[in-house]
Symmetry: C2
Subunit: 133 residues, 2 copies
Amino acid sequence: MNLLTRNTDYAVRALIYMAGKVPARVSARDIGRDLGLPGPFMRKTLQVLQKAGYLISTKGKSGGFELAQDTKKIRLVDLVTLFQGPVSMGDCLFKKKICSGIKSCPLRREILDIEALVLERLQGVTVASLIKG
Amino acid sequence: MNLLTRNTDYAVRALIYMAGKVPARVSARDIGRDLGLPGPFMRKTLQVLQKAGYLISTKGKSGGFELAQDTKKIRLVDLVTLFQGPVSMGDCLFKKKICSGIKSCPLRREILDIEALVLERLQGVTVASLIKG
DNA sequence: ACAAATGATACCATAGTGGTATCATTCAAT
DNA sequence: ATTGAATGATACCACTATGGTATCATTTGT
């Protein structure tokens, strides 16, 4: 079990990296090289971040990516959601009709409780707080 | 993301089912039928529980499975571990040498904190507490 | 014109998961 | 003794998510 996938992990690391970068604009290739991560995959990840509004991209020679938002506003929970879908830890119970008759399945309630805990924690973490921490 | 896999989920449901069963001995087939779950898969799951010491199995006609332990002693965290491996949410960071230089990677610390929370909760839940709840 | 960068896809390999099938073995009932 | 019903132990299959590569088009500074 893994709370973060590589995708999310790489995104966070890239954002932290970019926050301390002057000049702001960096290419995916360079980030990949500096962080020791596969360049093409990093690029795909950055494109997702761009589409989501976290980055501004510039095409052409000497192009690249730069932060579009204050790192205080980029929450870990949103990055997880972006790359891994909504944070829900009890999907299987809904899709299958196992619990159909039982309104308050104790197992499901327990899982949802834990999910709420995790969610709360993830909401409190931002890229900025990670840099400070 | 899912905290429990089907395997674990089925195991928990089967254990709850068996706890309220008289006579104690039930066949995998019957459990599957009564819970609306695939029989052969249920059987495989029960065999894992048996090997782990949670169930006693009896072969032959009118054989089946029965609880080998007090439901108070069967913790959810142990079932998760049994079917899904140790509860650790930050594996990727260790295997890859991303964090190698940085001793106290803030992202990793955050994930480990959350992991500890989840672990604590899972340790507090038993089959017995699920039945009561 | 050219090189370097992103945009957008398509593609591939691998692993985990859910599930089925098969054969051997045991045991109760007849 | 024979038979049927059950587990023990595997082997196998299908599907999906994930990590990662490759390709072609487009943009842009030099």
